[in-house]
Symmetry: C2
Subunit: 672 residues, 2 copies
């Protein structure tokens, strides 16, 4: 029996879709859009090798694993072309969609007929799997056909749908083919006929469909998709919780397949949502409060990031101030109380998510790779909605640190969880029972240029500093094309050379990162001081081909300290150079890195090493060593005298664990 929308949720949902009468309820979204992938060229030493490795190795590895583990075959079974049995987690389809999304971005960057054919083959299977009514989820079709849309808290049908929509839009934009887009539209229409005001109540246990629907709306112009995204967002946190009402209608002793095990609904809900007397742990899915009243980032970290991303997408379209306000509160909460220095989030393996303020342990940091991607996704959307550089700072932080640590330099092995301290036993793996992180990596790397530039109505925004080119096309067809010439992140000198300019005045917004003090600007050799507002320097003029804007961002090695409430980091510092957060790795240092103390006055310098770890700036300095030996049979002793000095070397966290097992530490004991 479908659950009908309760009166309260209907009211809220309908209210928020009404035209808003009062200006104070609205804000003017900045409406920054990413440049199409085809309009950006990446040519730097950091991203380009990763993109190439992703294209040549990771996408192939992911496809191979999806074949081996049955994820692709599940579609063959659902379409009647195989007699095998369903394998994999119940959201297995989403990993195939994420691979297709990555393949599509890759094709946009560079044609590759073989890869395109592989995608076409899988898309044909997906098409053949889809029911005539548009429903599509191989797990439910093959394993529990009677349970479709009946336990949204865990069913992940909407999560898979969201990834289908993202892949479909990417595939359409890259290839111009409607094959996957048609499947997505048919599926979205089915969901939209099923759920919404006056139809069935519902919301996904794992958010994702919201942002997928907005992408589909933007690609098709079909406003119903936007409205459905808002409907799902509006349901969240209503009382009584949709999930509790849904749980009440389930037979607790009914058995379901859960990651290959057969368990009862009671166990499923008890285990994962601590169900007690029908009450669920609603924070896990951010269902504890209506979203407009939320002010703490809670629960499962990836769910949270995807929800906030969806909220930001909706707010960017509707201009609803209450949503923006909530997002700004949540963002402040995340970045001032619950984020690792690396831009990663979610300290706990227990809920794959958040715990308490300032609980940011290093060795047990969960910091799921998908969650770091989620930070970048949400921050990008906040930036797009507001034009505020603080969000670009967080985006850059996650993209240059927590995210790239999730994959090896050879693109073949992956971290699911990313500690900030290791005793030397931590190593990436080839695959996971829950392979969300590798498939997420594979789709983000080829779309990195979407984070580098944005354009608004009459401006081109330079968000990240990446050697390459970009072309913005404005209304009327006028183009502003620039070449970005820089060795960043080796140093902070960037030249923006105008290659083609529009006839009328346009703006270049150049980001001034939070880590750069006193940037200098030279236009065609003459110093100028453009206004810097909210983290962006605005340079407005009638640009001419041949104009050269030099931006000099002073980069110095910084000693970073942490809020005193972060217990693990007391008496410790971390090193930062430009966008990079550093770590000590045992491989670079001839002493036990646990013994290093960096004195207050220690000279620290960064130098680019083109031969190390793909080419990175290495931070070197002189430290002292704690007399850590001789502790056998002792728990306390008179404090020893430091030995030294010793020279130490630190490398970006982004590239750690690429040289076999060894200790690693981000936070280093400090003598102030």
């Amino acid at each position: 029996m479908p659950i009908r929308c309760a009166r309260a949720c209907l009211t809220v949902a309908m209210l928020s879709l009404l035209p808003v009468g009062f200006a104070e309820d609205k804000f003017q979204p900045a409406r920054l859009l990413s440049l199409p992938l085809t309009k950006v060229r990446i040519g730097d030493s950091f991203w380009l090798p990763r993109m190439k490795t992703n294209q040549t190795r990771t996408l192939a590895i992911v496809r191979q694993r999806l074949i081996e583990t049955g994820a692709i075959e599940n579609f063959a079974i659902a379409s009647g072309r195989s007699q095998a049995k369903f394998r994999g987690p119940y959201w297995s389809d989403s990993d195939v969609y994420k691979w297709l999304e990555g393949v599509s971005y890759s094709l946009a960057l560079e044609p590759n007929p073989a890869l395109e054919a592989q995608a076409d083959e899988v898309i044909a299977l997906i098409a053949a799997s889809q029911q005539s009514d548009g429903y599509l989820d191989t797990f439910f079709q093959l394993v529990h056909p009677d349970m479709k849309w009946k336990y949204l808290a865990f069913g992940h049908e909407m999560f898979c749908a969201g990834h289908l929509f993202e892949a479909a839009v990417a595939h359409f934009e890259a290839t111009g083919k409607r094959t996957l887009l048609d499947i997505a539209v048919k599926n979205a229409d089915h969901i939209e006929r099923t759920f919404g005001p006056g139809r069935r109540d519902g919301q996904p246990g794992h958010e994702e469909i919201e942002l997928g629907l907005v992408k589909l709306f933007r690609a098709t112009g079909e406003r119903r998709y936007l409205q459905l995204a808002q409907f799902f967002i509006d349901q969240r946190g209503q009382k009584p919780s949709f999930f509790e009402r849904e749980y009440a209608q389930l037979d607790p002793s009914r058995q379901v397949n859960f990651l290959g095990r057969t368990i009862t609904f009671r166990t499923l809900y008890d285990d994962l949502l601590k169900a007690q007397a029908g009450k669920l742990n609603t924070e896990y899915s951010q269902d504890h409060l209506p979203v407009r009243r939320q002010d703490k980032v809670v629960g499962h970290a990836v769910r949270a990031m995807y929800l906030y991303s969806g909220m930001a997408d909706v707010a960017a379209e509707t201009g609803e101030k209450a949503l923006l306000d909530a997002l700004q509160r949540l963002y402040a909460d995340l970045t001032t109380k619950r984020m690792y220095l690396t831009g990663g989030i979610g300290p706990s393996a227990h809920n794959e998510g958040f715990t308490t303020d300032y609980d940011l342990p290093n060795e047990t940091a969960y910091q799921e790779t998908c969650a770091s991607i989620g930070v970048a996704m949400w921050a990008q959307r906040m930036l797009a909605m507001t034009g505020d550089g603080q969000y670009a700072d967080a985006m850059e932080l996650a993209l240059y640190n927590a995210f790239p640590a999730g994959v090896s330099l050879d693109g073949e092995v992956f971290f699911y969880d990313n500690p900030l301290y290791s005793r030397g036993k931590t190593a990436r793996k080839t695959w996971f029972t829950v392979p969300c992180c590798p498939t997420n990596v594979a789709r983000i790397l080829p779309s990195i240029s979407k984070y580098v530039y944005s354009q608004s109505r009459d401006a081109l925004w330079v968000n990240l500093f990446v050697q390459g080119e970009a072309a913005a096309q404005f209304a009327g067809g006028e183009r502003l094309e620039i070449a970005q010439q820089t060795s960043f992140p080796a140093d902070g000198r960037i030249t923006l050379a105008v290659k083609a300019a529009p006839a009328s005045e346009r703006s270049l917004f150049v980001r001034v990162p939070g880590w750069a003090s006193a940037p200098r600007f030279l236009l065609n050799g003459r110093a100028l001081q453009p206004p810097v507002e909210r983290g962006y320097a605005r340079l407005s003029r009638r640009w001419m081909a041949g104009d050269r804007l030099v931006v000099d961002l002073p980069m110095a090695v910084q000693r970073i300290e942490s809020h005193p409430a972060v217990v693990d980091n007391r008496g410790r510092i971390a090193l930062r150079y430009g966008p990079f957060i550093y770590c000590l790795e045992q491989a670079d240092n001839p002493f036990d890195i646990d013994r290093l103390v960096i004195p207050a006055g220690a000279k620290l310098a960064a130098a680019y090493d083109p031969n190390l770890l793909g080419g990175v700036p290495v931070v070197a300095g002189a430290g002292m060593l704690k007399p850590e030996t001789g502790w056998e049979g002792m728990l306390y002793r008179p404090a020893g005298v430091l030995q030294g000095p010793v020279n130490f070397r630190a490398v970006p966290y982004a590239v750690w664990a690429n040289r076999g097992p060894g200790k690693m530490a981000v936070w280093i004991e400090s003598a102030r």
Copy 2:
């Protein structure tokens, strides 16, 4: 149905009581005995005021609380003199016994007819409560008469009996009266008739009876008590666990009174011993392994200390090397991995006990006052058995730090748990639902002189440095009387003046504490270098009245560091001066003490302040302050520069929390 001893446990028990045939199975116990209370005078600035306060305030307060909370009236009810209902925890009797023990020691120190009459009155009630068969436990007699001896895992009848025996011996020694001793003997005989090889199997859930039985054996010469103590020790850790066999015979749905609540046995065992399928958490009561194979201190901290104390008492009588070996392993485990710097133990409130190696958090330190007392008790017994000063070091540490922190200077309020860091909300309480700590404090303070001196066959041992006098009497009636003249712990200069000497050569063993490097000795003005073995200087000669031995223990403020695996203490030091571990209290410092950093080269000096907190050496020095302000809206920032210098003052942890609420920290951030 009583549980009969299983074959395995019988065999072990009987074996260990057999005469041992091989010398390598035996060791020669040092057999140090405490001097009788009447043969020692305490006159120092640290203990004497505490002993007087205990005598004049604490014992009266404890009596008043025992009256108010029904603990004494329970005996009146059991003896038919009151119609009220039983009140208090199921081990309520033990608190009355501990008060009687404290009163007895107090009477030994100084006659007090009023106090003695109060004791006599309570003893008369106890006598009238005892069953004709010797059984005595008001909880079972009044609340669950059918459950006597039926759930030893929780019943605490043996725990109460052990405290009865300790009180009875103390009362007999102090007053010469047999009133309480007769009750104890009758009770012990009843227990000895009930349990033992060939009789019922059993062991106490909470150890204590073991050491009580040895005291009773020593007071009465009745060897059966020693054998019963050994029987209980031998049962521990046998498989299947006695407690599991006992639990199997209980009706899980049977309801019992537990701290005033009515709960089922299932809940009782599930809650406290995590019973699963009949298996209990046997570590909680150190029942996981036979005692001779144990090498980790585990479970409930007080239980562990009392067990090890009982084991040491038995080993000191039997000379069994396997027991000594086990105790030495356990002691090494405790002191090198699981003890706070203050000599306290047990980090976790969850099990009131031990967790994992090096898990010694400061703010949440449970460090129960009773457990600190247990450390001193066990260490004293290890010293008595071996004559090894390492045990005197731990004994001193607990007695000068963790233990005295358990009671206020005015003797009126108490800590149950003792954190090593406080944000300023921590305060002692007047009483507890579980009042074991106040009654334990009340009995230890008047018996402190038992820890100060020992005597062996032909020597007097000076274990602690306390102004006063002591008289040892050797076989044949010869006496060695000394006056100990010292300002310790204000400084480390001690003069031992011989007041009466025996005719033949005897030894003075003077402890050289682990914290004192290079002590100097002067005998009658002439320097000498006595042999120092295992922490004691041995001075053997024909002593003459008028001999003056000056011992100069250099005392300097030490910066103590902690094993790097103790996460909370990384980058921190603690301050030590002689026996005292120091803490910063907000009351002594004009800056937020969380901001203090003590640089490596900081000059630190101790000076006795006779007017502060009863008179203590205060440690003063110059530190620096972290720029801790301005963290609003920030989680990370470039490391600030230290401000200062500032002068700080630290006081002994023993006297903290006597000046109203305020922050306190033992471990202080350090710049090496």
